[in-house]
């Protein structure tokens, strides 16, 4: 039973959290990659808009909770999602109308767009903090666990326990559903096809009668959906702190670049690679090895390759390796 115990311990502390984290990153990275391939700039406001969307959901949750509305085993936040979505769609479309559209019209350099997105980031950041402050807000309610460590141990009779938090399960299922829906949308619907055409070759797309402004609007709407979902799931899982969302920027970009900027499937794969690398390298492997090694040879150190504070260093190392050896990413992104 020893290897089984090792596996259970590993799943509990690393595999499940990493899978959930990867799913959250994937939703974020998909948004980055979409904006990149349609609007052709690196969207630096991504993390902070994610925070604002989550803040809207939290606001909705509080409103519902105050009225005693809930969907018992599931978190109330799910019920508040549509509200967050509406807010975020309106916000992003307004940002596009007020800020980005002008630069599209004058065909500004991509760097100017990035600069503008910095401005949007500042504003968004300010708004989020105005509403939520900088501290941590927890808004997870409903059933916290699908099964707890104790239940798992009682059922299986193993020494090690494993818990599955509802936020994690929810994240993983939602992410899978959204990814499938997104691919269906991009490959099967007319709007999705026009988006792909536009990203592939702008001039040809224009020539065949695709309305670029419509494509842009659809892109922002999809991005808003991805952002709100990613942000809410991340917040349910780890609590809401605006700065953490800003810090997600690096892993999300790393994931998008690793997979190949502009490639949706790449963003997903990249996100999971980044998440598992971050968790794997900063995970203390001692317990796992204690089960795997023969009696008397248990490791006495933590077996942790890097302290948790350096999880960004892992992301960064991945980024550096990609930039050095394969700047187009795993799935050959659009442009170098």
């Amino acid at each position: 039973m020893e290897p089984l115990n090792a596996l259970v311990s590993l799943s509990n502390f690393m595999l499940i959290p990493a899978f959930a984290y990867g799913s959250q990153l994937a939703l974020g990275a998909l948004g980055i990659t979409l904006i990149y391939s349609i609007l052709r700039f690196a969207h630096f406001a991504h993390g902070d808009t994610m925070a604002l969307g989550t803040a809207a959901v939290i606001g909705g949750t509080w409103f519902l909770q105050a009225r005693g509305v809930g969907i018992a085993p599931l978190p109330t936040a799910l019920l508040a999602l549509p509200f967050g979505l509406l807010v975020m769609i309106a916000y992003l479309l307004a940002a596009d109308r007020l800020v980005y559209r002008y630069y599209r019209r004058v065909k500004a350099k991509p760097m100017i767009f990035v600069m503008a997105s910095l401005g949007v980031m500042f504003v968004t950041n300010g708004i989020t903090r105005l509403f939520m402050g900088v501290g941590e807000t927890r808004f997870e309610d409903g059933e916290r666990f699908i099964f707890t460590v104790r239940q798992f141990r009682d059922v299986t009779g193993l020494d090690e326990g494993m818990a599955l938090r509802s936020a994690q399960a929810l994240t993983i299922t939602t992410a899978l559903i959204v990814m499938v829906a997104l691919f269906w949308f991009l490959n099967r619907t007319r709007a999705g096809k026009s988006m792909r055409a536009y990203s592939d070759n702008e001039d040809l797309a224009l020539l065949s009668g695709i309305n670029p402004e419509r494509v842009v609007v659809i892109t922002w709407v999809i991005t808003a959906i991805l952002l709100v979902l990613a942000g809410t799931l991340f917040g349910l899982d780890k609590g809401f702190r605006p700065f953490n969302y800003f810090q997600l920027l690096l892993p999300m970009f790393a994931a998008a670049i690793l997979g190949g900027l502009g490639s949706p499937i790449g963003a997903i794969v990249g996100a999971y690679v980044v998440a598992f690398a971050e968790m794997g390298i900063t995970y203390a492997w001692r317990r796992v090895f204690a089960y795997l090694m023969p009696e008397g040879m248990e490791p006495d150190s933590m077996m942790q390759l890097l302290p948790v504070d350096y999880k960004f260093a892992v992301t960064f190392a991945i980024l550096v390796i990609v930039l050095l050896f394969r700047p187009t990413g795993i799935f050959k992104g659009k442009v170098l």
């Binding site: 600069m115 500042f122 960064f316 930039l323 700047p327």
Partner: protein, 434 residues
């Protein structure tokens, strides 16, 4: 040095505003704003070299300033002999082993034929290097951190005069910039942005975590200052008579005089940098840089090595940021890794450069003054605004309290709006490039 009457007028206006702060708020505040503006001006100058001259997008200013700040600790703090005895050698050896294993990996990469074998060899070298390094480094680090942890627990510095730390800070930042630039320049322009974003987070994480280096989150305080501290100025007779003439209290006078001492130092550095930067900008080198910025392809066709030039200017600009970071830490007399926030140290500098006028050195300086002034003053203004908004609400209501508490975040909003408005309606900034 081409400044039009309009530009001079803008600077004079800024000076008048600072004078008004001194009159109506307090002279100490005016001097504090002046000093931070000067430091910000130097950072903005560095960023302007990268963005204005060469079009490089650096989002890691925070990291470079923090590295510069680290230099102050390493140069000016007295060494801790017990810590050196406990694990100094081990730490040095560990660091060298770490560098050696990376170099070994690079050599393997360069010497071996591409293929699976090479990949495996590099991996092997790195893994071996990692374990060797942590075997030597880990215990040494623990030993150093165990030395008198309440007040020391780190190796200390070289015990040299603090002014020396400024150029050293520039060199440190230049080193980090070389690493980042080597990796990410020559690729898409946004890759540099993301790489710098990453490195700055890592620098801060390292500063917080590596307690043997600069005590991490325990902060190094009481660093030697380049200017006499106000408390030591107070007993001096001329300070006391000056206080009498001005009608201020002695402590206030001492603070202002000490602050002005920093201003003089910073102003000298800024003047030298501006002079150098203007000379460079108007030299063949500067024209080449701008040619590269405006049209990379044709510059390349003219035989210019664009990537190399980009690397040069990236290192130069980052070094200037590192210098400013060192100056800031030596003014504060403490290194507090927890206080480095990207919004404050990276993105605010960007707002300065854009508002001031990218490509123009004087513009960056003016932008730094204007934006830093706003940054300091918007907070009270925001509080006043919030009080106005909430004046109709019932006292003690949760919303009112919340809004009042949140007034501090108004300034982020204001800065963002300022950046967006400038970018949209006056993209050339207050003092345009010419």
């Amino acid at each position: 040095m081409s400044l039009t009457a309009r530009d001079l007028g803008l600077f004079a206006g800024m000076a008048a505003v600072l004078g008004m702060v001194a009159m109506f708020q307090s002279p100490q505040l005016a001097v504090t704003i002046l000093n931070m503006s000067l430091i910000s001006a130097i950072m903005a100058l560095g960023v302007n070299m990268q963005w204005g001259y060469a079009g490089l997008f650096n989002v890691g200013i925070m990291g470079f300033t923090a590295v510069g700040g680290l230099a102050v600790v390493l140069v000016a703090q007295p060494p801790v002999p017990e810590a050196w005895a406990a694990g100094g050698l081990g730490i040095l050896l560990g660091l060298m082993l770490g560098v050696a294993s990376i170099l070994a990996a690079v050599i393997v990469y360069k010497r071996m034929q591409p293929g699976k074998l090479r990949g495996a060899a590099i991996f092997g070298v790195l893994v071996l290097g990692y374990f060797l390094t942590s075997y030597v480094f880990g215990p040494a680090k623990e030993a150093v951190q165990a030395v008198n942890p309440a007040s020391e627990g780190y190796l200390g510095g070289a015990g040299l005069p603090v002014i020396l730390a400024w150029p050293v800070g520039a060199v440190f930042a230049a080193g980090v910039a070389w690493l980042v630039g080597k990796v990410s320049l020559g690729l898409r322009s946004d890759y540099l942005a993301i790489a710098t974003l990453g490195i700055s987070e890592i620098v801060i994480a390292a500063l917080k975590h590596e307690r043997w280096l600069a005590r991490g989150v325990n902060n190094v305080t009481g660093i030697e200052r380049p200017v006499t501290r106000p408390i030591d100025l107070q007993p001096l007779p001329w300070i006391q008579s000056l206080a009498e003439t001005l009608g201020w209290s002695v402590s206030q006078t001492a603070t202002v005089v000490s602050g002005l001492g920093y201003s003089a130092l910073f102003l000298t550095v800024l003047a030298v940098l501006i002079w150098l930067a203007e000379r460079a900008l108007n030299s063949p080198w500067g024209r080449m840089m701008r040619a590269i910025r405006d049209n990379e392809v044709s510059a390349r066709a003219m035989g210019k090595d664009v990537t190399k030039r980009h690397l040069n200017i990236f290192i130069l600009g980052s070094a200037v940021c590192g210098l400013a970071g060192a100056m800031m830490v030596s003014m504060d007399g403490q290194l507090t890794p927890g206080s480095y926030e990207p919004l404050r140290f990276t993105f605010l500098i960007w707002v300065m450069v854009i508002v001031g006028g990218s490509g123009n050195n004087w513009g960056s300086v003016l932008g730094a003054f204007v934006i830093w002034f706003l940054w300091v003053q918007v907070e009270p203004a925001g509080r006043w605004f919030m009080e106005l908004v909430t004046s109709g609400m019932a006292d003690g209501s949760g919303l009112k309290q919340h809004l009042l508490d949140s007034a501090a975040y108004m300034r982020l909003l204001t800065m963002g709006v300022a950046l967006l408005l400038m970018l949209r309606f006056a993209p050339k900034g207050l003092i345009p490039e010419r």
